[in-house]
Subunit: 212 residues, 4 copies
Amino acid sequence: MIAEIINYGGSIRVPKSVEVAYSTPVLLKYNERIILIDPGDYVSFGFLEEYFESHNISLEDVTDILLTHLHLDHAYATKLFTNATIYIHAAYKSKPYNKFGLIKSKLYLEIINSWKNVVEIDAGVKLFDGKIHVFHTPWHAKEHCSFTIDTENLGRILYTGDIVMNRVEFYDIIRWLRNDDCARFINTIGRKCDYIVFTHDEYVKSSDYFRG
Amino acid sequence: MIAEIINYGGSIRVPKSVEVAYSTPVLLKYNERIILIDPGDYVSFGFLEEYFESHNISLEDVTDILLTHLHLDHAYATKLFTNATIYIHAAYKSKPYNKFGLIKSKLYLEIINSWKNVVEIDAGVKLFDGKIHVFHTPWHAKEHCSFTIDTENLGRILYTGDIVMNRVEFYDIIRWLRNDDCARFINTIGRKCDYIVFTHDEYVKSSDYFRG
Amino acid sequence: MIAEIINYGGSIRVPKSVEVAYSTPVLLKYNERIILIDPGDYVSFGFLEEYFESHNISLEDVTDILLTHLHLDHAYATKLFTNATIYIHAAYKSKPYNKFGLIKSKLYLEIINSWKNVVEIDAGVKLFDGKIHVFHTPWHAKEHCSFTIDTENLGRILYTGDIVMNRVEFYDIIRWLRNDDCARFINTIGRKCDYIVFTHDEYVKSSDYFRG
Amino acid sequence: MIAEIINYGGSIRVPKSVEVAYSTPVLLKYNERIILIDPGDYVSFGFLEEYFESHNISLEDVTDILLTHLHLDHAYATKLFTNATIYIHAAYKSKPYNKFGLIKSKLYLEIINSWKNVVEIDAGVKLFDGKIHVFHTPWHAKEHCSFTIDTENLGRILYTGDIVMNRVEFYDIIRWLRNDDCARFINTIGRKCDYIVFTHDEYVKSSDYFRG
């Protein structure tokens, strides 16, 4: 399995004015499959277009999309990949999307209705011959999952999802300034991985932060 | 005719990373009509939702949309207003939208195909009993038009469109640092208006800048 | 004591390109004192200028500045207020500011050296006749403190500091998706306050989120 | 003369909330000199720090700084380079910096006062053995100059300054949608250069846009 970080996710939060967030999309190649993790939001379309055009991949070539959770800044771009099977924790189904607001509800229903095939995942599930392990990490959304991915080019990757959005939060966690389940998870699993990929920031090399 | 500035447009340009621009949407009420000018892009959906919900207007209530030109940051949000007639200069039809890139071309075709009724406008056209005058101002796009609007609450408004995106450009123009058709247009027409509304900035009161 | 929220703090994080964060400055008037909490960074100068000019207050009139912690996005603007006494937890002194990088180290030393008078605060300290209570909340920085403020116009305010930067984090906490000291602190103290002011977002009314 | 583009300038304009702009700093090496063009604003300090640290150059090593004009987003960072001679058009001296606002005036005076040595430039001036040609281009500020630079690694560069901030403006100009002095200058001089470097965007290769 080969992993490519398409771009670094980011976030722009100017209260009462503009809120733009977009996750870090990771593309995985494994045998004949092309797998995306958290492809992003509308603002990500530019990155995705540049990547897919320059690599000569068509949108229809994507076979599978793993979602950490169902927020627009991670999942809106799923609508572009009409052949992909979606992998997501079942708890996403319990939210009242039709009450999310006049326009926002439309966007959520648009993407959910665009999914032709959904596979429900949960803690302990292994995907793609065991290359990807699923952890249920419901500290940002009830359906939230994190993933470890065994790759040939980047070793073992921890894709945190939004339980650690950026390096600022990561630094708080590795210094044990926080003492919750999330901090324990990152300090345990992150230590065993080679790279930790955040959803709204650059990734880090694990050995730069953990010893032994 | 009553005018409401729904929010100030803005722009975020971080090269190679994020480009987000969104125009200033203006809502006009005139008799039974609800008219929008340049409703904006996907990132505008939040403003539009807040405005429409708090004013108890449904998306289907919008009867007419005037576009200065066909760029996504001004026109993508037209897709939300399924009953609206679109007013735009005919030159928009001559662009090869299907060659705009893998994803961008889809977005352009999505909005154009969502328009049920299009009225072509040109220099000299008067709309809504002469309350709105159309000027052909092709200095940013061939189809670009600017509008003056006679309102009860804000006097005569000049809606520049992208020929003057923000106050930085406006200051250059009123000091005659530029000497082109655009500068002549703004210095002539803007002087006769009460407010000048920019597409990516706050609006200004004309008398604060022009004398006599 | 009267409190005014000068503007809402925000954050812009485009990895490898632009990182801009600026805290929410609160101005308190009490007898003859003018007190600021977390005045912000260089990018805040615009807000501060507009506020001080329109309220006819000079920069020298500020008598006291409370800092939740010593990060530039909260504390760089202290350099503007040359008469102010700084209140901060003593743990700020243990960091190697001179090793923070070629330019960043200069900025930290510039502000620390600009402080003429520093009062060290800690858990349990009460300031300004007991109107302000200090809590040591070292979950983002070792010196980090949060404050409750008893005001005439906004009731009791909890100024969280960066232990809760925005409403996204707040929503996770009040749903008990997190179970750490920080979540316990916010759910206990926030419940007893009228408003909760975040450092990088709009504030919220406590009763909209807590019952009983 | 060797040129390095330290980073791409950008701009963030969220009206009434945040305005952040930062120019494109170019570093030139020529014999024993290290020359900077438009080093940027406070928000550029991060890029500059990373560049200078990773290239083992100290801030004091910079011998010369060319400014297109005196706006903070281009010139605030001059204060970091205490040994540099500043090159700028004399018209910068006619502005009432002390009336620019409570805080903004302090920033302008801070940088102007930090300059130990200023060389006034004007149209036709040639610098560094004729490698750099100065053009007076007063269409954004009265003192505004643009530069062509003959380099070994990037051929002849046109550094536009803010008369063309980004590619959106450039596209309007090369299609002759504008017909002013600025458009004539860019279409004449830009055509003769190999690269055109904008102040708030990526640069472009001239031959991708001009023929013959």
